[in-house]
């Protein structure tokens, strides 16, 4: 009754043990109850765990690979999770596995691109295997939004637009300051002021013309 599903790649092998859930009508070669799994790496310690650990591994590795394809390398999995993965250097990825058993320290595995691709492929093979009659809730791949991709741009390109805007604003403000100030508005003159001005035509220093003689 015990079934073992095996998925091989060049650097790793994933084996999943389980039983068919006969009460759910599964075929005899199906795995409806997952009892354990093992991941063997060439030249590395073997990993094993229960179903929740396998789901935790898939939940960080598959989205990490999805983001890497878009050129975004960021950490997946918090420090309190059993599994996390983060980019380390160019072409290198650190997979950290934490055990809640007190006597075991965190196991860090540095994978290169090829080993990461192998791991992704065995997890894909497991996920898509029809014999696995067990829902493994892994996030589906979705297009990334602009704000998710902003980290992909170098800092100078990210700052170019806001700094260019600020520079344009400062230049425009400086040019405005260079312009001559507009003339002060002259005070408006009322009718009384204009009549008094016309009445005082005998301006000092300017003789007023003599009254003209009447015509003969």
């Amino acid at each position: 009754m015990k079934q073992t599903l095996r998925y091989d790649q060049i650097s790793c092998r994933l084996e999943v043990d389980g039983l068919p859930d006969v009460s759910a009508g599964h075929a005899l070669d199906a795995v409806g109850i997952l009892t354990g799994w093992r991941l063997q790496w060439a030249g590395r310690p073997e990993l094993e765990g229960q179903r929740e650990h396998l789901v935790a591994l898939m939940e960080v590795v598959l989205p990490y690979a999805r983001h890497l394809i878009s050129g975004v390398g960021r950490r997946f999995g918090d420090a309190d999770r059993p599994v996390s993965i983060a980019p380390k250097a160019e072409g290198s990825h650190r997979l950290s596995l934490r055990s809640s058993q007190g006597d075991q320290a965190t196991l860090d595995l540095d994978l290169d691109d090829a080993e990461l691709a192998d791991l992704v492929r065995v997890l894909d093979q497991l996920r898509l295997d029809r014999r696995l009659a067990l829902p493994l809730s892994v996030p589906s791949s979705r297009p990334l939004r602009g704000r998710d991709l902003i980290d992909r741009l170098p800092l100078h390109r990210r700052l170019a637009a806001p700094l260019g805007g600020l520079a344009a604003l400062a230049t425009a403000a400086g040019l405005v300051l260079l312009l001559p100030p507009p003339p002060a508005p002259t005070p408006s003159k009322g009718p009384a002021a204009s009549s008094s001005a016309s009445g005082s035509s005998s301006t000092p220093g300017i003789p007023s013309p003599p009254p003209s003689a009447p015509a003969p």
């Binding site: 990993l47 650990h53 999770r81 059993p82 809730s137 589906s140 991709l149 992909r152």
Partner: protein, 200 residues
């Protein structure tokens, strides 16, 4: 290393099954079309496969027939015409590639990458002898550069950047890594989602 079963169980991020192509009502999902940037990346990834496989053009036609796209791409000219939606091409076509056609091209890409995965892995592996790895990269990049010069518009900045020895190497390595992570049936969703990313 044994992972303790008493560790807290992670919360599922989504309940959508992988590989689902229809919504909850059972209606077929509306296939979105790729942006210009997505078309560029798709065609360049196909070009990478041609650089890896000397008979890549014929292999694409064969793969298309194997996957049941014989009516969509009845011959290599039709396949080539769809790839010419890449704006970086010398003779590029205007307009949008239909979603069904772009999905077919992505599936062809994933299956060809799956077939060439050993070569992709060899290029990416850090355990290969350094001298041998450098020779393999040089050979691959030379073939890719020849194909780019032959088919792409050299006046486009994207093409110039790809042919630039400094900036182009990193970009080519990212493309090879993309092919390795998108190989096979499982890679289709990842690659398609990536090609549909928002423009920045």
């Amino acid at each position: 290393m044994v992972l303790d079963p008493s560790a807290p169980s992670p919360v599922p991020l989504a309940a959508v099954p992988a590989g689902s192509s229809s919504d909850a009502s059972g209606a077929p999902e509306q296939v979105p079309s790729l942006s210009r940037r997505g078309l560029e990346r798709l065609d360049l990834l196909l070009l990478c496969l041609e650089a890896l496989d000397l008979n890549g053009g014929e292999a694409m036609v064969w793969m298309s027939e194997q996957l049941g796209y014989g009516q969509l791409f009845p011959n290599r000219v039709e396949l080539w015409k769809r790839r010419c939606y890449n704006p970086l091409r010398r003779a590029c076509r205007r307009g949008e590639l239909a979603g069904q056609e772009s999905d077919a091209l992505i599936r062809i890409l994933c299956q060809m990458a799956d077939r060439l995965y050993p070569m992709l892995r060899t290029l990416l592996s850090s355990t290969e002898p350094a001298e041998l790895a450098a020779q393999r990269w040089e050979l691959f990049q030379t073939r890719l550069a020849d194909l780019v010069r032959e088919r792409m518009n050299p006046r486009r900045s994207g093409v110039q950047k790809l042919l630039d020895p400094a900036a182009g190497d990193a970009q080519v390595r990212r493309m090879v890594r993309t092919l390795a992570l998108g190989a096979g049936s499982g890679g289709f969703e990842r690659l398609r989602a990536s090609l549909l990313d928002a423009a920045v």
